[in-house]
Structure formats: structure tokens, C-alpha cells
Subunit: 270 residues, 2 copies
Amino acid sequence: MRVAIQGERGAFSHQAALAALGQEIELVTARDFDALFATLAAGAADRALVPVENTLTGSIHQNYDRLRDSPFHVVGEQRLRIEQCLIGLTGSSLEHLRRVRSHPVALGQCLGFFREHPGIEAVATADTAGAVREIVELGDPSEGALASRLAAPLHGAALLSTGVEDDPENYTRFLLLGRDPAPREGADKTSLVVVLENVPGALYRAMGAFALRGIDLTKLESRPLRGRPWEYAFYLDARGDPDGEVAEALEELRREAREVRVLGSYRERA
Amino acid sequence: MRVAIQGERGAFSHQAALAALGQEIELVTARDFDALFATLAAGAADRALVPVENTLTGSIHQNYDRLRDSPFHVVGEQRLRIEQCLIGLTGSSLEHLRRVRSHPVALGQCLGFFREHPGIEAVATADTAGAVREIVELGDPSEGALASRLAAPLHGAALLSTGVEDDPENYTRFLLLGRDPAPREGADKTSLVVVLENVPGALYRAMGAFALRGIDLTKLESRPLRGRPWEYAFYLDARGDPDGEVAEALEELRREAREVRVLGSYRERA
């Protein structure tokens, strides 16, 4: 199976792809998220893995918007703990490092490390795994990088230290997208986007379609509607049988809502 | 009254401050949003005006987080249509322009203009009003800027064209913050943040406290809780009498929620 990710080999998205689909996947890398969606559209990959939420920084709204604008289906999900690792050249060690490169977000997650090592300069790069590739190309033992555990062996570098991040409660949730819906068997979670009539209480009644059937909503996210100031689309994740109580809730919702689009039903992964 | 904004004189925040509080205000400018909150905390301003939502790009979540972490009160709101204007040196005109500077977000809102004028290069700057100051300092009639209508006279430049943005349905909502609560007289809107028990249906019941009293919720935004992966705080705006039905709803909410914090009650402005 060909799986497209944003970023280079060894990116956190690569780790998530392996966790979701196993070691046998063929990785397809995309420069940015628009290119990632284009890769799936062109048939150059069978799946695309898209980060949609991080427990420290919140939702990645642009990817929800891209998903809504696309014809793709959510066929699975994957959560990944974001563990930042200090990576250097083989034979180097923490004492040799003078500069450590990574994506600005990763640098910002490791402020404690830089505070403890005032002699090490933080250098921003476009990509975490790309920073590892760069230090290997430079061949300078005073250069280090912060990236996933996977990035070190993939780029022929050494893992100098693990768990360097300030806050270990750092998880990213990815959605796995395909051109066709997932098989219904075993599906217990449904992602959808709804646009409600702009009347008081509309969201409360929409949520009642789920709550009064005992369906847990694990996600509720609002996004502005283009061309309709101060109106919103809501992204919901509902836990339950997509052919049972969730189907009933959707039927009720469709009678009240301006738009209901099921993005996909799939098996939940903790 | 001293009003702090993020950005330079002539920024959209400056326009919003004038619309909210009139021409007599004394403007205090802050480099970034952390500095803006610090200005209010230090007593160097009586009010701070903070953008929290744009109708094209969505909520500015970091400002919700800063507000929640601050001791300040929401004392008012202001909506502003974001109209991008083409600004040049006095005596210059569209035909002279070879470069147009602005903040990347403003440039991205005027793609049609750059498509229609392929001979004009878009140049990214830190700030819209700052771009106007820059072109005046350069004194080169081939340099233009995209910024608010207000920025031209304030920096001694000329308005060459108005309404240059691609999508006129572009509004930003600002919250006006103070160190003390607003007077209750005339207040008809309350902003709050709630943290609910992590049980199915908790949000539905919380919304019922409002909906079943006929209170319209004009805003619902979720933000991740630090240290509690996949749990959320919810920001709500409720329309109604803060000493009447909204007070009753809050009383009910407090019995069920882990945390309820009223950010402020104030008079709604369309």
C-alpha cells in the first residue's frame, strides 16, 4: 500500500503511518498539505495521512477545511505521542553539540533542553526529519537535530537522547484518507460536518440527535462559513454503530440541517 | 482613555479602537500580543483591544488562551470590516507601482489584484500599517502598500484605491479588555469559558442550561486542555440578561461543570 505523508522520511507522520498500517507500506512524501491532497487525488498514493489535532496546540483547521473541500473519505485514524529526540552524527555526543536544528514548533517544545544547555544554539529549519538529513550532509559533529526516534536510523544518524520535549502529554491525531469509503465491518466512529440553520438552539437540537440516543460526541469543532459572516460549519466525531444509532441520528439531523456530510465511518484507535 | 493595540498606528486594530471608543482615545501600540497583554497588566493602558475571530480564517485561538490565562475582563466588543486599500506616495498612481508591500495575510486577501497587475511584485512585511510607513520612508513612487484606509493619512501617504480585497465578506471581531468588569447596565452578552466533566453528553447538558431558557449561544469554540489529552475547554458567548436568565443558566452550569469562568458581560455590538 502506497501511503502519502507531508514531510520527509522519518517525519512524525511517517511514524504514524507505520503505526497505522505496518512496516510493509510504501511511503510517498509530499512537500506541503496541498501537495499531499493532490497526491491522493492523482492516484499516486492509496492513502493519505493527515494530522488534524495536537493536544498542546489544538486543531489544524486548514486540514479540516481541505478535507471538507475534497472528495475523500476518512477510513481510519491514528494517535501518536510526539517524542522529540536529540540526534547527532554517529560518534558525536551531547558535549560536542553547538547547534541543534529543527522545525520551530519542535524547538518550542524543547525550551527546557535549551535552557539547560545555554551553549547550544537553536536553529530553525523547515522540517524535523529534514534537519536530520541536513546534519548528516554537513558531516559536522557539533551539529544536532530534534526529530522523531525513527529519523535517526533512516538518515544514518545516532540517537543521542530521547524524550527531550518539555511536556510528554503531547499527542497528535491523524486521519487516514482514501478515495473510497472504508469497509463498514468493525466501524465504530463516524466523522461528519454539518451546517445548521442560523436560528437559536439549532446546535443544541443537533447535538440532541446524538446525546438522546446515548451516542458520545468525542469532537466538536466550529469553522467559519465563507461568504456567511458569523455562521459556522461544525465538525463532529460520533462514537457508535454507523448502521445503527448513528444512522438514526444522521437521519434526524438531515431533516433539520442545511447540510450534513459524512466524512467517513471507521474503526476508532486509542 | 488609553487604548492598547497590537501593531502600528493605522493598523486595523487602530480602526477598530476608534470605532469602539471614539476619536478621543490615546493610542498605545504593542509589538505583539504578549506585549499587548503586558501593557494592560502594567497599567500603561486602560483598555486592550484583541482580535479573536475573522470570518475568513476563523478564531485566533492563541488570544482566547491568553485571555483565559489573564485576570482581565471583557468589557465590550467591536466588529470591523477588513477593507484592504492600495496606498502610495502622494503624487504616485497605480501605473507607477512596481512593488506592493503588506503583511502576508493581507497579500493573500488580494490575489485578484496581483493577478490583474502582473507587473507588480508582492513583498511581505511584518505589518500592514508598517508597510505604509516603510514606503513613505523609502520615498520611491514605484512602492505601494496594502493596509487600512486609516493608514494613508496617518503616515502622510495617498489612498490610490479602496476595496482591493478579493472577498468583501471579511470581518474581524475584537474584544475590548479591561482590568475591571464593565458596568452591568445595558449588558446583554456574556463570554465565558467552561471545563466539563469528561462524560458522554456533558456538553449537550451544558448547552441545555442555555437553550432551554431561550438563550442564544452565538459562539462555541473548543480548545485543548494542557496535560489532559483529548479533553477541552469550551468558549461560549451567550445573549441575554446577565442578571436574569444568563445568571440562572450559569448557576445550573456551575453545579455540573468542573470549571466555569465568566470572562465578562458587556453590550453587544453588531
